[in-house]
């Protein structure tokens, strides 16, 4: 059954397959930061040479009891339970934006602890359940 032609083809295929895995692995490795959709407060804290003029995304959990509303500005704290960043935003937030829930903010970093957001996205978790009443 396994004649020489099939053996040759299998060998060629296996080599190609391994090569493509390695190529894709390394290209993802090079892209590294760009594959990440957002950075957590800890990653921002650890990162050196941040370009403060380039828009970035940060993400984490909205800290409990940290949302402050005045006029149409909303301020809240994004936390990953180790480090925190204060986010300021003008505009409407998505429906799912709430304390204790995931959030992704897009905008400019002022310094390592203060962020001005241009856009807020709500991130929701993988839990689905009926409302408790």
């Amino acid at each position: 059954m396994l004649n020489k032609k099939i053996k040759n083809r299998s060998l060629a295929f296996t080599l190609f397959f391994l090569l493509s895995i390695i190529t894709i692995f390394f290209s993802l490795k090079v892209l590294d930061d760009n594959v990440l959709y957002f950075l957590s407060p800890t990653e921002i804290n650890d990162k050196e040479n941040i370009n403060f003029n380039k828009p970035i995304r940060i993400g984490g959990m909205v800290k409990k009891n940290s949302i402050i509303l005045n006029n149409n500005e909303i301020k809240f704290v994004v936390t990953d339970l180790k480090n925190e960043i204060i986010v300021s935003y003008r505009g409407t937030v998505p429906n799912l934006f709430a304390e204790g829930k995931g959030v992704v903010a897009e905008g400019l970093l002022q310094d390592k602890k203060f962020f001005i957001a241009k856009r807020i996205l709500a991130k929701h978790d993988e839990n689905y359940m009926p409302p408790k009443d």
Partner: protein, 235 residues
């Protein structure tokens, strides 16, 4: 056994199954739609928009499973020159592509009310878009390349690259930080979907699978007829 697997015999056999499937598809679809639209509860944060999940999740699974199957068949055909698998992957590819498209479109519709955006270039969404591109390239490469030998080589190349992409789609939410949430239904470990929502999800998956089988059988029989009529590309 091999005689049974000849296209002629399969044709008759599939005809019978096809009739059975057409009978059960509609009642099954109605039952699952009633479950997913009326009987299942809304989500505790997302409300009624969670119902998009009952279309989005099964179609994504089918898109992924279909490409895995196509990839396996293509590689099998490339290695052992088992020509019947060409007919099978030709019939499977359009189904997978449609469900991939459905998954992306329903994902966008679901993303707007929940995340606040239709599209985000995060790892999961981007790799799913790449999967759609793979499907399109795959279909083009067997439709427009006349030389059978060359076409099966190109298909095998695409399948090899596409299978790597399947793994990236599957594990993208675990490897990188993405806007897309991590998987709720796990083969190993706990499922984080409430039972009352798991029922319509499973039912919808069943409906989609039956529908896929129906389309597949119709397409496969059409391919057999096409082959017999032309007398070309004999098995």
């Amino acid at each position: 056994m091999l005689n049974f697997l000849s296209p002629g015999n399969l044709f008759v056999f599939f005809n019978k199954i096809n009739k059975l499937i057409t009978k059960i598809l509609l009642p099954l679809a109605i039952v699952s739609l009633v479950f997913s639209l009326f009987l299942s509860p809304p989500d505790y944060i997302q409300g009624d928009s969670v119902r998009i999940m009952y279309v989005h999740v099964p179609s994504s699974w089918i898109a992924l499973a279909c490409f895995s199957l196509i990839g396996f068949l293509t590689i099998f055909n490339f290695l052992f020159k088992f020509k019947n698998s060409i007919l099978i992957y030709k019939s499977l590819a359009p189904i997978g592509m449609s469900f991939c498209l459905i998954s992306i479109v329903t994902g966008a519709i679901w993303g707007q009310p929940t995340w606040g955006t239709f599209w985000a270039w995060d790892a999961r969404l981007t790799s799913m878009l790449i999967l759609l591109v793979f499907y399109i390239l795959f279909i083009f490469s067997y439709k427009f390349i006349q030389n059978q030998n060359l076409s099966s080589k190109i298909c095998a190349t695409l399948a090899a690259l596409g299978i790597v992409n399947i793994f990236i789609v599957k594990y993208s939410v675990d490897f990188w930080s993405t806007l897309h949430q991590t998987s709720s239904v796990k083969i190993l470990g706990d499922t984080s979907i409430d039972k009352s929502m798991l029922v319509p999800l499973t039912l919808m998956l069943l409906v989609f699978l039956v529908y896929c089988a129906l389309i597949f059988l119709m397409k496969y029989r059409a391919e057999i007829i096409r082959m017999k009529k032309k007398g070309l590309k004999r098995l």
